[in-house]
Structure formats: structure tokens, C-alpha cells
């Protein structure tokens, strides 16, 4: 149905996460909340940061509407961040951003991104990078707001 390039953009893990939406549903007791909007297509996300007593990241919860890339990316983000320190979380965001800006080249070591590394194919489509970044920008914002 689609080209190999399209298949690498929409890998099965991405299509699955776009429907499963791990972490979907806002929870109480958040340390911070961020709302992000992609004005070109109307994709939006509200994301909450939940911290453990030791200031590590317990989890995120989120709600939003948008394309499969933005929804899958938020779901994959949810699966990556539990248990991270703030510093580790910022490193993951920086790595993800580097991957998104790589124009298809990827990053040397995408291991820390877990399944979110599957989004590498998005970096070949400049117009879709914002979609993939949406949840991550919201997450980054909550880290700043809560510190």
C-alpha cells in the first residue's frame, strides 16, 4: 500500500501506540501542567508531570488530540520517563530533539529512548517533526515549571 519510506515512518509500533495512548487521561496531584498546540494542524496536548518523593519522575499523564505521530510520540514518551531523574529526563529530551533534527541520519546511540527510537523515521519529514515534538516540548515545559 505504501512505499518503504512510508512504512519506516509509520512503523507498527507507532501505529499501535497512536491507538493505545499509554498514559492517556489526566491524573490529579501533578507537580506541573503544560498545554501545547501545533497551530498548523490543530494538534494539541495537555501533559502533567507527577513526581515521586525523591523528586524523580513518577510518571506523566496526558490528554490530547492529533495525528498518529503526535499521539504515538506522547505514548512512547510516557513509557520512557518513569523513574528518571530530572537530569536524565532532560538528557532524553535533548537526545530525542537531536534525533528529530537529524534529517533521517538518526543519532549514534538511541538506546536511552527505548521504543521512542522508532520515531527516527519522522526526522526525514520536516513537516512532521513538530508533531513528534509536541508531547516532548510539553514534558520539557513541566520540568521547567516544577523546578
Amino acid at each position: 500500500m505504501g512505499s518503504p519510506e512510508l512504512a519506516s515512518l509509520y512503523q507498527q509500533v507507532i501505529l499501535d501506540h497512536s491507538k493505545r495512548k499509554n498514559g492517556f487521561g489526566l491524573l490529579d496531584g501533578a507537580a506541573a501542567e503544560s498545554h501545547q498546540l501545533n497551530p498548523t494542524c490543530g494538534d494539541e496536548i495537555t501533559l502533567r508531570l507527577h513526581l515521586a518523593d525523591d523528586d524523580t519522575i513518577e510518571r506523566i499523564s496526558w490528554e490530547g488530540a492529533g495525528c498518529s505521530i503526535s499521539m504515538a510520540s506522547a505514548s512512547l514518551l510516557h513509557d520512557v520517563v518513569a523513574g528518571l531523574t530530572r537530569e536524565e529526563a532532560r538528557d532524553r529530551i535533548a537526545l530525542f530533539r537531536e534525533m528529530m533534527r537529524s534529517k533521517g541520519a538518526g543519532v549514534e546511540d538511541d538506546e536511552p529512548l527505548g521504543d521512542a527510537a522508532a520515531l527516527e523515521g519522522v526526522s526525514r519529514y520536516v513537516a512532521r517533526v513538530k508533531c513528534a515534538m509536541l508531547g516532548w516540548v510539553a514534558f520539557e515545559d513541566t520540568l521547567t515549571l516544577s523546578s
Binding site: E5, C41, G42, D43, G66, I69
Partner: protein, 436 residues
């Protein structure tokens, strides 16, 4: 092959695929492959491709004439000025008005802002007694519709904020269509401006211009028509439509970006205070104040975009040679085929009127379970260029219950094969994304 190979226009004529294909040879950008497929360009509603004749006209002007207009005594300056003013007459004739009623702008957005700021400037006393009729204040109403492109909404919101006037809107019906009956409910004694789109860039619906103009003029309001989606696609006679102002953009009608036009009734333009001010729009300047030229120069401050003006005139000649009746009939047939084909694809909802009567050759759809961005990506993989998003019409999308849609918009160079490629692509979307 060029337009000159085409048979003469007849009123009931349509282009048909053969002639559209011959015209396509005039458009270099359409001859490419995208992602391994021949380009299927269905995004002319956003911007059209450009024929060689237009590109050549712009280049020829820059190679042979290039000079600032309305200044300088040398030969090139005189030739440039003549070409520039001839172009104004050409474009004016194309939309059925006089040359001095056409003001060059960068695009339709600037044209609308020009009118809005002229009202704004009149409202603080600029333009003197002549500009009295443009003064707005508390109690006055500006009427827009729910179907507007942001460019015909946001400038009026800002004008209302600046002047204290109230912004009201005509709600669309469940098909997203502007109805005269709904307009009659909103237009009243306090209405000073009525502004609306001729053809919706989302639903393709053609507005009841005559009825709305009559309602507005009955209460002494001025009418602004957004002709961005009509000037390129339908025979347009602004005088016959009896609107007071109208705007359109060159890049949607075979010309380059950076050039558009504002039409204003001569009497109105000459009573309006200017928007952009500076050189070339003045008569006498002292250190304290300045007097201004009549329209249209009054509204053309600074060095003008002459090469784009020349190119727009060439684009209009190209469209005239093909024949606007024929173009409209051709696009209507393509629109019909789009609507009929989409009706057969499960999980696809057409935004706007379900039948092709009163509709231009463009269709926006919502695919159940699949976001428009993903639909667009899937189509692009097949070399199909469609527009995705809210098409700068968030309120209309909200009213229709979606945040984004996928739009196919046709032009004179499209064929039934393009429409069929789009239909085949759309038919494959839901299974690709696991929705069926």
C-alpha cells in the same frame, strides 16, 4: 503546445481532459515526479502552479525594462510605468471594473488590512469630512461570517478592538454554508461593514452574493468580498456583483507570490485615508504634514512590485485566452467526480454541501479515525499534493466538528486521472492506518 492551440471559447464549452493535458505542458512544475510517482497537484486552492508565459513575462520585464515606476524621466522608467499601468487595466478588465479602482497589494490579506486600517484611520479623524462614512465607534457593527478564512476575520476583530465597534458573525448552516436568511438575521440598522467570502476555501460553496449585497446596501453598509477562491476559477464581474470592495491574490491565479489586488469603488477609494504611507503616494510634503494623491496611487506607498504586476497581467491574459467559462465548467466536472467518488468510500465524510450544485471544484474531507496530517502523508507518498490542516479556517472546522481536514482543489491543468488518483489514494488510507 500552448493555449493558442485551443479552439475558440464557447459559452457552454468545457476544457475536458485532452485540453487540460495540453495546457499542463505550459506548467514546468507539473512535469515532475514526487516520491517516485508523477506529481498529482491538487493544492491550487493554496497556490497555483505557474505557466511558462508568466515566468517569461516577469523575466523579460526584468531583463529589458526594470525601473521604478511613477518617477524618473528616463526611457526605462517611462516604459516600466506604462507596462505597470497597462497591467492594472488588464487586471481591472478581467474582474469587470475600471483601472483606477484596482490597488496593488502584496496579497489579499494586505488588501483586507488596507480597508480595515482605512476605517481605523478614519475613526480617529484622518481623511476629514470626506472620510466620515468610514468612521466606526461604539454601537456600530461589523458583520463577518463563520465560514471566513482567518485573513477575512482577524483584521476585523482587530478593527473592532481599535474602534469599539462590535464584531458580529453570520452563522453557517449544518453544511457549513452561508445562507442569505441567516445573514438577514444579523445584518441590521447598526451594520456598517459586511464582509464575506465569495467561495469557501473549505467547502467550495458559492455564497449568495446578490442577496447579501442587497441586505447590506439596504441598511447603508459597505460590502467587502473575499474573491480569492473565485477570481482564479469563475468568470468574475465585480461591478455586476455590486460589491464595494473585493480582494484577490495573484499566486492563486497563475501569477507569482507577492502580488494581489484590492478593488474599491472609485468614489470610496478617493474618500478613504491611506493605510501604508511614504513615498509615491503624496502630492505636497512639508515637515508638518502631507497631502495625498488620488486612488490608486494613494494606497501604493514605496517602490512597487512591478515585475509581479507584469506577471499577474500575463496570468490574466493566459486565463482569458483559455476562457473562464471553460475553466469553471471543467473544474465543476472534476468537483462532481470527486464528490461522487468520495461518496463511495466508507468512513469518508465530505465537508460542505453533499451535491455539486453551487460548489466550486474543491472538496475537503474527514477520514474517520485518521488525522488529516496522516492522510496527507499517505497521499504524498503517492505523489499526490493535497492540503491538510484547518486551511486557515478554524471557526468553520470547529462548527463542522473537526479540527482539520484534507482538501483536494482543482484547476485548469487537472484531469479526471488526477481526481481518480486522489480517490484511489483516499480509499487506501483507512486500511493502511488499521482502521478497517
Amino acid at each position: 503546445m500552448t493555449i493558442h492551440d485551443l479552439p475558440p471559447t464557447q459559452a457552454t464549452d468545457t476544457l475536458g481532459d485532452d485540453q487540460a493535458l495540453r495546457l499542463r505542458a505550459d506548467f514546468p512544475a507539473l512535469a515532475q515526479s514526487v516520491n517516485g510517482h508523477p506529481l498529482v497537484y491538487l493544492d491550487s486552492g493554496a497556490t497555483s502552479q505557474k505557466p511558462t508565459a508568466v515566468l517569461d513575462a516577469e523575466r523579460r520585464y526584468l531583463e529589458t525594462t526594470n525601473a521604478a515606476v511613477h518617477r524618473g524621466a528616463h526611457t526605462l522608467a517611462a516604459n516600466a510605468t506604462e507596462l505597470y499601468e497597462d497591467a492594472r487595466a488588464t487586471v481591472a478588465a478581467f474582474v469587470g471594473v475600471d483601472a483606477d479602482e484596482i490597488v496593488w497589494t502584496s496579497n489579499a490579506t494586505e488588501g483586507i488590512n488596507l480597508v480595515a486600517y482605512a476605517f481605523s484611520n478614519a475613526s480617529v479623524g484622518r481623511g476629514g469630512a470626506a472620510a466620515e462614512r468610514f468612521r466606526l465607534g461604539v454601537g456600530d457593527e461589523i458583520v463577518v461570517t463563520e465560514a471566513e478564512h482567518h485573513s477575512n476575520l482577524v483584521p476585523w476583530q482587530e478593527l473592532a478592538f481599535r474602534t469599539g465597534a462590535t464584531l458580529r458573525f453570520v452563522p453557517v448552516d449544518d453544511d457549513g454554508v452561508i445562507r442569505a436568511e441567516a445573514a438577514a438575521e444579523v445584518i441590521g440598522e447598526r451594520t456598517r461593514i459586511v464582509t464575506f467570502t465569495h467561495v469557501s476555501n473549505v467547502t467550495g460553496a458559492v455564497s449568495p452574493v446578490a442577496e447579501i449585497v442587497a441586505l447590506a446596501h439596504d441598511v447603508g453598509a459597505l460590502v467587502v468580498l473575499d474573491a480569492c477562491q473565485s477570481a482564479p476559477h469563475l468568470p468574475l464581474d465585480l461591478r455586476a456583483l455590486d460589491v464595494d470592495f473585493a480582494v484577490f491574490s495573484g499566486h492563486k491565479m497563475l501569477a507569482p507570490t507577492g502580488i494581489g489586488a484590492l478593488y474599491g469603488r472609485s468614489e470610496l477609494l478617493n474618500a478613504m485615508p491611506p493605510f501604508l504611507t511614504g513615498g509615491s503616494m503624496i502630492t505636497t510634503v512639508t515637515m508638518e504634514e502631507s497631502a495625498y494623491l488620488p486612488a490608486p496611487q494613494r494606497f501604493e506607498a514605496g517602490t512597487q512590485r512591478v515585475s509581479q504586476v507584469i506577471a499577474l497581467a500575463e496570468a490574466v491574459r493566459y486565463l482569458d485566452a483559455v476562457g473562464m467559462e471553460r475553466i469553471a465548467a471543467h473544474e465543476h466536472a472534476l468537483g462532481e467526480r470527486l464528490l461522487a467518488g468520495l461518496a463511495d468510500i466508507p468512513g469518508v465524510r465530505v465537508l460542505g454541501p453533499p451535491d455539486s450544485a453551487g460548489r466550486a471544484g474543491l472538496v475537503a474531507i474527514d477520514v474517520e479515525g485518521v488525522h488529516a496530517h496522516d492522510v496527507g502523508q499517505f497521499l504524498d507518498d503517492r505523489g499526490i499534493a493535497a492540503r491538510v490542516g484547518h486551511h486557515c479556517a478554524q471557526p468553520l472546522h470547529r462548527r463542522l466538528g473537526v479540527t482539520a481536514s484534507t482538501r483536494a482543489s482543482t484547476y485548469l491543468y487537472n484531469t479526471t486521472a488526477d481526481v481518480d488518483a486522489f480517490l484511489e489514494g483516499v480509499a487506501g488510507v483507512r486500511s493502511f492506518f488499521g482502521e478497517e
